[in-house]
Amino acid sequence: MISLSLSDKVMIGTALLGGMSGVVGSFAVLRGRALVGDMLAHAALPGVCLAFLITGNRHLLGLSLGALASGLAAIAAVTVILRWTRTKEDAAIGIVLSTFFGAGVVLLSVVQKPSTGGNKAGLHAYLFGEPGGMLNSDVLLLAGVAVVVLAMVALFYKEFLVVCFDTDFAQSQGWPTLWLDLAMMAALAVVTIVGLPIVGVILMAAMIILPAATARFWTNRLSVMLLVSCGFGAAAGVLGTRLGRGYPAGAAIVLTASFLFLVSLLFAPQKGLVARLLVEYRLRRRIADEHLLRTLYELSEPQLPESPVIPLESVREYRHWNSLERVLERARDEELIEWGEEQVQLTPLGVHRAAQLTKAHRLWELYLMDYANIAPDHVDRDADDVEHMLPEALLVKLEEELAAEGRLPAVLAEVPESPHELSPET
């Protein structure tokens, strides 16, 4: 047996636990069962107490088996309630959770009585977590469970994937979805229960949910999500025990995990808050830019193809602007307009771009009038909403319709004939 210092043991143990709960938590969160971990953690208490009353000692293995038994009983109870009564899932979980925990509290007070000769110190760990009390055998148990869980996930990866995302499809393919589901639940139960004495009831629930929800911000692929979530869980375990010296370790680990979650929530690419706000900001900016061009085009339209000088005043009156100056600046930087002295003029490039935008807008208006029967004086606003999103292929189709009506914008030049003979290159 390698001799480890206590802090090393604690760190390895919490890292293992974080990693495992990250993996099984991913499945739980994807299946919409995030709170089942919470329920299992609470429901374990009567099992722990019973196991203690029966065996009379505090071996982790015995207590864990008791916890597992009552956890499974709780899952069965929820299933029965859902199957045969009108109680909804959330209430069912709440009922089972609180009743089991109440029974646990009752049993705990029995354990505490001097007549049974117990002291509740070891059992109290199940409520609040005591990573400091970890033994070598506990670390080994954690490692063993981790190996089993990982092996199971590796073996049934494809099956779990399908069950998570499309249960009906899995069923129609003849897979035993019920058993696969139960296997996932069982893994969740086992991990929850070995984790209980380390981080405590509430915080175990957090360990199931947090790493998985964190990983969800980083990826859309299950394989990556499992890895990332495992990593986050382990990191939370290690960092939490490192940084949280002097505080309740369970709380420290969970706060670390929450911090990781918060960081991901803000800064994850694509799904993070910052990235999403950035995308939205860019979209708004583009819409404002496009509105400016179309406004200028419509103001210039009577004199096209000459590009007239337009007083800024009439641009201001044409529609509502949030910050016209900045929009104008951007357009000038892209050499789409000339701007100065309360006047503005489209450059040739600007006319070309503006013509395209106006075309999209009017094509959509036409479509709305013809196919959606919207009155002509109502289509402007509706077209405003979509014109920025219309794909090229749709525009071509709309254009064919418009051509038949002779309403194509004047500037759109036909493609000139080729000045030379066209022949396939040899």
């Binding site: 969160v29 919409g32 069962r33 995030a34 709170l35 971990g37 919470d38 609470h42 309630i81 045969w84 009564t85 009108r86 109680t87 909804k88 959330d90 209430a91 979980i93 709440g94 009922i95 959770l97 609180s98 009743t99 925990f101 109440g102 029974a103 646990g104 509290v105 009752v106 705990l108 007070s109 029995v110 009585k113 109290h124 409520l127 609040f128 509430i202 915080l203 629930a205 957090a206 199931i208 949910i209 947090l210 998985a212 929800a213 969800r216 505080y247 309740p248 369970g250 709380a251 420290a252 969970v254 706060l255 929450s258 979650f261 929530l265 799904k271 808050l273």
Partner: protein
């Protein structure tokens, strides 16, 4: 015990709306998430008096609700996961704060979990009542008052939030109001009964009442009663076995729920089993009658004893019971070892066979179903076709005297 009753009643009142809005776990979440609010209030004021505690709890509760909503709506975290994240994080903050600020002071985390109803009579007193009783009484009255004043609004937003919003009172505001009530109730009950019992009392009596009633008014009344009964039972059991009162109350509530699952008149297991049996008996009785009628019609000389008849309609003890029922009601009689229809029974059987054959004819004539496919559906439907439908069917059919198999349709 009185404290237990008032706490339970207060919880049951708001609990009804929680389970109707499918937010039961929000009770669990809030009861944990108010911890940091309590600690901060405690640290800031240095006292454990009621008002700062409530303010702290309400702020923490609203914060939790707000963060959960935000995570779910704007960041697309699944709703259960966002709840789990927020309340566990809040709880962790609370645990750390407790450790940081209240060391050496009297702030027992264990009491947060398990409560200490046992010590209520020995605690300090406000206005002549034990403090916890006074607190929970105030909260009970508060919940009651809000419920009375906003009954219509709460009801509507519980069942149809979208309609509530279009009618001009925001379902979101109701949601937050409900959360405030839950937070306050939680805190009031905390010290006396512990957080898990709060969860139990929020959800379990309300769910039990939900099994027993379809009307919100009755459901609320029932849930309060059930909460009170659970408190009394729990108290008795706990003193009898000398264990934790709050734990026993939870167990009592769970037992009441289990009983309701079994015996609820409309949704209970037993009543639905009974309903099934009654239905099966009706179908079997009809089958026996129709079979005997057909035998008479074919002028077959074959005689059916009770056992043979029972086997012919599918067997089992239900078949025997149905034959016994028919005999007792005078529809069939036993003559020289075989069963025969009485006049009354023949009349009933004729109606059945008429239904059956009219339906077969209808299926073939109007829906164009093939001949060999119509017996099964007619067999299933014949029990539900009454006189009026028979007439309608006969009126719509071209041939209402012969079924598609060429047999006569009796009148």
């Amino acid at each position: 015990m009185l404290t237990g009753i008032t706490v339970n009643a207060a919880c049951a009142l708001v609990g009804c709306f929680l389970i109707l809005r499918k937010m039961s776990m929000m009770g669990d979440a809030l009861s944990h998430a108010v911890l940091p609010g309590l600690v901060v209030a405690f640290v800031l004021t240095g006292s454990r008096s009621m008002v700062p505690m409530f303010v702290g709890a309400v702020i923490a509760g609203l914060l939790t609700t707000f963060m959960t909503q935000t995570l779910h709506q704007y960041l697309r975290v699944p709703s259960d996961a966002s709840m789990g994240i927020v309340f566990t994080a809040m709880f962790a903050v609370g645990v750390v704060l407790v450790k940081q600020f209240t060391e050496g002071l009297h702030f027992d985390i264990g009491c947060v979990y398990e409560g200490a109803l046992e010590y209520v009579p020995f605690g300090e007193r406000v206005a002549g009542l034990p403090r916890q009783l006074f607190t929970s009484l105030v909260v009970l009255l508060l919940n009651f008052a809000v419920l009375i004043m906003l009954w219509k609004e709460l009801k509507l937003s519980a069942f149809d939030p979208a309609l509530a919003t279009t009618m001009g009172f925001s379902a979101t505001k109701m949601h937050y109001l409900l959360m405030v009530l839950v937070s306050v109730t939680t805190v009031a009950s905390f010290e006396a009964v512990g957080s898990i019992l709060v969860v139990a009392m929020l959800i379990v009596p309300a769910s039990t009442a939900h099994l027993l009633s379809d009307r919100l008014g009755w459901m609320v009344v029932l849930s309060v009663l059930i909460g009170a009964v659970a408190a009394v039972l729990g108290f008795w059991w706990a003193t009898y076995w000398d264990t934790s009162i709050s734990g026993m109350m939870t167990v009592a509530a769970g037992c009441l729920y289990a009983i309701a699952v079994l015996v609820s008149p409309r949704y209970g297991l037993i009543s639905s089993v009974l309903r099934n049996i009654r239905m099966s008996l009706l179908v079997l009785r009809d089958d026996v009658l129709a079979m005997l009628y057909r035998i008479e019609e074919l002028k077959s000389s074959k005689k059916f004893s009770i056992a043979e008849t029972a086997a012919a309609v599918g067997g089992g003890w239900l078949a025997s019971v149905s034959i016994f029922q028919l005999q007792r009601s005078g529809n069939i009689e036993q003559a020289s070892g075989s069963l025969q229809l009485t006049d009354q029974g023949r009349e009933a059987a004729r109606r059945l066979v008429r239904s059956h054959r009219l339906w077969e004819t209808y299926l073939v004539e109007q829906l164009g179903m093939p001949l060999d496919h119509v017996h099964e559906p007619a067999h299933r439907v014949e029990h539900y076709i009454d006189e009026q439908i028979q007439e309608q069917l006969a009126a719509e059919l071209e041939t209402s005297d012969q079924d598609p198999h060429g047999r006569q349709i009796p009148h």
